[in-house]
Amino acid sequence: MSAPISTPTAQVREFTAELVVRSRTSVADGVVLLDLADPSGAALPRWEPGAHIDLCLENGLTRQYSLCGDFDDHSIWRIGVLLDPNSRGGSKFVHEQLREGCRVRVRGPRNHFQLVEAPRYRFIAGGIGITPILAMVEQVHRTGQDWTLLYGGRTRASMAFADELATRFPGRVTIWPQDERGLLDLETALKDPADDTLVYCCGPEGLLTAVEQHCAHWPAGVLHVERFAAKQITVDDSAALDRFEVVCRRSGVTIEVAAHESILERLEAAGVPITGSCYEGICGTCEARVLEGSPLHRDSVLNDAERDSGSVMMVCVSGSRGERLVLDL
């Protein structure tokens, strides 16, 4: 057992497949449901409520969509896509190009919106943010926990699944179209903190910020949110160093990273096995465990407690406060 191993290092990658659009249904104003399947009918990887996948579109864009179908059905992945009038080409491409029978490259699934065990849940969805909540509702309905859903949208016609949710779960689901009822009444919904209740919220940034504020007096760890896009993070870059060292303990590799460089890109260049996807600090794919050192977080995946723990970081955008970071890579 002498010379070092000379074969290439492992390429860790997420499950990636070219799937076919089996069916495409319009379910609300500007919202299409796509059922994606393996062309040969092979089973797709299992997923848990809250999971999302990447659509790697032909126009070079990668977009994340929550899985909203039946988690027991391994033949289909279902996503709901809202046509965003300000689309940079993601939802526009899906709406205009992805017809039934089209092929699309898909990566994942991954989950940053895990449904954690609790006796009671308060779900809050805004617009297309209903998609991950839909699978969660199905899960807790089957396991018999107590739950309610507050679902807001611009108009009733724009709210996917609103009618079937209201019909199937009367008494649990409150449909709240803004043109009929105004802004969501978060004040009432989140007035009384309960020790046995978890709050799950997915929707536009304005809703998430409002829910975060209304949950400020709730116990820590109660609120779980999923964002569509990068949160505006204010980073105190005065602590940033010109240059720091990243030690990949498992690989036995040490690299130098300059302040303006991405750790992820430097790791890839050095052949260290790591996955990356968005390079913007949104998707969480490049998450690395921090063994020593203090990361300078610039991502929008981690919550405050996770940042403060200093035990994990997104290496695509984040840096180091100290001269040395030791990562579990």
Binding site: W47, H112, Q114, R249
Partner: protein, 364 residues
Amino acid sequence: MTNFPKKCWYVAATCGELGRAPVGRRLLGKDVVLWRGADGRVAAFENRCAHRGFPLDRGRIEGQTLVCGYHGCTYDRDGCCRYTPAQAQAPVDMRVTVYPVREDPPFVWIWLGPPAAAATVEPPATPWIDEPFWTTFGNSWRVRANYMMVHEHLLDFSYAPVVHAGDVPSGLDRMPAFSQVEVTETTVSYLRRIPGMPLTDWQRRATGLDPNLRYDHSESGTFVSPAMHRQYWAVEGPDGRQYVTTRTHAITPETEESSHVFMQSSRNYRLDDSEVTAVLRTFLDRVVARDIEVLEMVGAHSGYDGWRGGVEFQSDAAAARARRIVGVMLAREAGRAPIRPGFAPTQRGYARGARRRGPAPSAS
């Protein structure tokens, strides 16, 4: 605090084990009795009569009921006591705890988590064990090591030239690095290519391929769930055909320090040749004996905390990912925490001593 997810189907037994007599077995720390009624259906109870706590596996099966060997309390498959010889009517609501089971040959699966959640998860399918282009034999054993040590041992085969020196191709003094590791939310798969090597003795005897040639070998596997690992050894024949020998390991925690392993070995070549089965049995018995010896030595000496507290190699990438998948499941089951599942160490004792905090943020 145990490290096995409860919301998961585990294998309790192989179908053939459940015949005329009840079988007692410790699973996930619980004492369970498994029995098959005359109608062929399997049931699993807490192994404890509701009357005096007599072990029900020491009783007997009568028709569609399980009869306690002490006072004759007779339970139907729903766990209700229907009859007791001591009085005319069994006490109202006298029952034993029943665990959901599924029989999917060759395995009997059990759910020891919250019963309502059993319906939200399916046990993994193992079609190759029945498909006609595979032939399969099984073996089961118990190992005094935490179930994740068994998983992680199987997910990192880099010790093969050390532990199984006689059973790897001659000249292979180290395993090559993974060629690929593929992850999903709930699984991790890996592939190692080992090009241009001679056949091992067992491969020569099992496949019947020309021993004078060199072949492209591969070793691959999948962490399917906390309850299952699948490993493949493949040799590419001269005609491009893959000679695959695969081991499906159902791994079930017995206690925190011991595990049951229900192994099924399938091959896609020389299907009807019982001599090949004998060759593979002998080879695998040898491998398993050494695996058990290594795991029990580490288990007794360092335990799982010592095992996972060590310095990790690149070849541990798949095992580290499996540990993370299990960590997320455990954190989900544990409930509310400021740090979400998947974003921090979720298992105690992780990399002990390694998490010294770095320099404090400073203005310099």
